[in-house]
């Protein structure tokens, strides 16, 4: 690792993990932080809470299917949901560049209000800092969130066990390509929409029916491949993903083919991975298929015992190749 921060340190991929494990954890580590879950599970006076934070630096601020405000609500709501929590309250930290348009700020706040309404969360507290022109790029938003972990639910990446099915709730890569298209003013045959959405309602429905779900994770920065690797590493299990089962829309496939991106490494903002015993799969898919954010849900692979800590992809022609975490950062500032 060079002795300065690189863009890839914020990619959510391999270098991000190195930064956390080699720099941040040795200094700030404790049993709660070391869970390395999407949100921390903490217990206060016998109440099980999820607590998490995310900062948003997406560029451009407004993109097809969302904006930084919607993203800031959905990102944190989804992190809470991934621990089996019902999201309740968010805080809002604004860092704004001097000269930023008040109209745009209002558009962003309205978008946050709509997303918070859909997700059933309230903004409980906030803070605004302003820096001089040139000291930030427009607006950066941090949201932190707390939620109540559902009774009887114990979600953790450590619960991954050989034999479990791996389910995804829909098409991959839409958020990353929508942001890229709008950042660079690209014109694709069909306009790409970010999948940005709050998943808390859907998660609550699933866990009400199947509280014994083992693992939930949203494949944001670093994409599906990185998220699966994180789970495999944490639980010391293997995984085998079927390339032919991966849900990729015709539009995303076409853009990836032209530009050389792999949908497995593209960020999603309305997707989640569900790991559960095979006997629950039908119930989970039923809930998913009846929900607007789960219509394209499907089983994409299985947890295996070997190779521990690694993820294999069985390709369309039958070979198996290892899927690593994202290396480098092809699309900085995607969220």
């Amino acid at each position: 690792m060079k002795n300065v921060i690189q863009l890839a340190h914020g990619s959510g991929g391999k270098l991000s993990h190195e930064l956390v494990s080699a720099v941040i954890q040795p200094i700030l580590g404790n049993p709660v932080l070391d869970q390395m879950h999407d949100a921390a599970a903490v217990c206060i006076q016998n109440t099980r809470l999820a607590f998490t934070t995310d900062s948003f630096v997406v560029k451009p601020l407004f993109f097809t299917g969302g904006d930084i405000g919607k993203l800031a609500v959905c990102g944190t709501v989804n992190d809470l949901a991934m621990t089996g929590a019902v999201p309740l309250f968010l805080t809002l930290g604004l860092i704004i560049e001097e000269g930023f348009s008040l109209d745009e700020l209002e558009r962003i706040l309205h978008s946050m209000a709509r997303a918070a309404g859909e997700a059933g969360v309230q903004i409980a507290a906030g803070d605004t800092k302003v820096v001089e022109k040139g000291a930030a790029d427009g607006i950066f938003i941090n949201t932190a969130g707390i939620g109540a972990i559902m009774e009887g639910v114990h979600i953790s990446p450590l619960n991954a066990r050989p034999g479990q099915d791996i389910i995804i709730n829909g098409f991959l890569g839409e958020h990353a390509l929508a942001v890229m298209q709008d950042r660079h003013g690209l014109t694709f045959p069909a306009s790409l929409n970010s999948d940005c959405a709050p998943l808390a309602g859907l998660v609550k429905e699933i866990l009400t029916k199947v509280p014994e779900v083992a693992v939930l994770r949203d494949p944001t920065r670093g994409g599906l491949a990185t998220a699966l690797n994180e789970i495999a590493l944490a639980a010391k299990v293997g995984m085998l993903i079927e390339e032919e089962a991966l849900p990729v829309s015709t539009e995303v496939r076409a853009v990836c083919d032209i530009l050389g991106f792999d949908p497995l490494y593209l960020a999603n903002e309305g997707k989640m991975i569900v790991l559960s015993e095979h006997k629950n799969t039908e119930n989970i898919l039923t809930v998913l298929h009846n929900h607007p954010y789960g219509r394209e849900a499907r089983v994409i692979g299985k947890v295996t015992s070997q190779p521990a800590g690694q993820v294999g992809l069985r390709t369309a022609i039958g070979g198996i190749r290892l899927l690593d975490m994202l290396t480098g950062d092809q699309l900085p500032r995607i969220c």
Copy 2:
């Protein structure tokens, strides 16, 4: 209000309040946010929690008496303490400029770890974003925090009542002038130290002895005058402050005289205002005087019934002038 964000929107003074009341609250407001407390008090499954957030953009990152890391822990810990909560967990959101020194990042994290240790809080979750060179100024840090509100304690700015004593725990203006001195490379006769400190331990001692304390507030951005105005406005009471009682060190007084600053409007990071019935004052001062962060504590005035929503200062020569909130922003990026 012009239609763009100005530096003074982040001052913590008058324009900040206008931004919140005219733009943010109408869009995101709800009964929890509308408390307008240092931290929100929320109730989850019968557990009373405080929840808050703060972003830190201080310049320079390292200053006499502290750095952005210590500030990021103390600021949020103190906001939690001001609602009568014992701070428990923080989240950490880093926004880092590409090319930032890893050594400096480690120094900042070590400083956070020390401050968190003193305050008795754990970092529960974190997030790191990296933006391109030039898109941010070094590093911005957000911390959000949760704490458990102490039993039998009900702190709120709405509790201010005529007749209550107004207590401050020590010297004013040290943080702002220390940062300014280091930002501009000024050499003062005596070096100024930031008062940055976690007040949670001190608050817990006070509330254990006097749980009926009415109001706590830390006079950070905008200084003592702005914080008192906020309380007076919220509770629709008046206040009369005695200029001769205000604790201002010789060093701060000298610098203010030369540069034309008023210590009443300078940011503090280790100070708090305590409002309580007069009968409790001796007990509170005893706790304060026995604590390293309260040795210079004193009564500086009283809550009055008139003029409702305003703060008066009785000057050394006996006249009374109204103290407004901070207008403009003489020292941007002070925290």
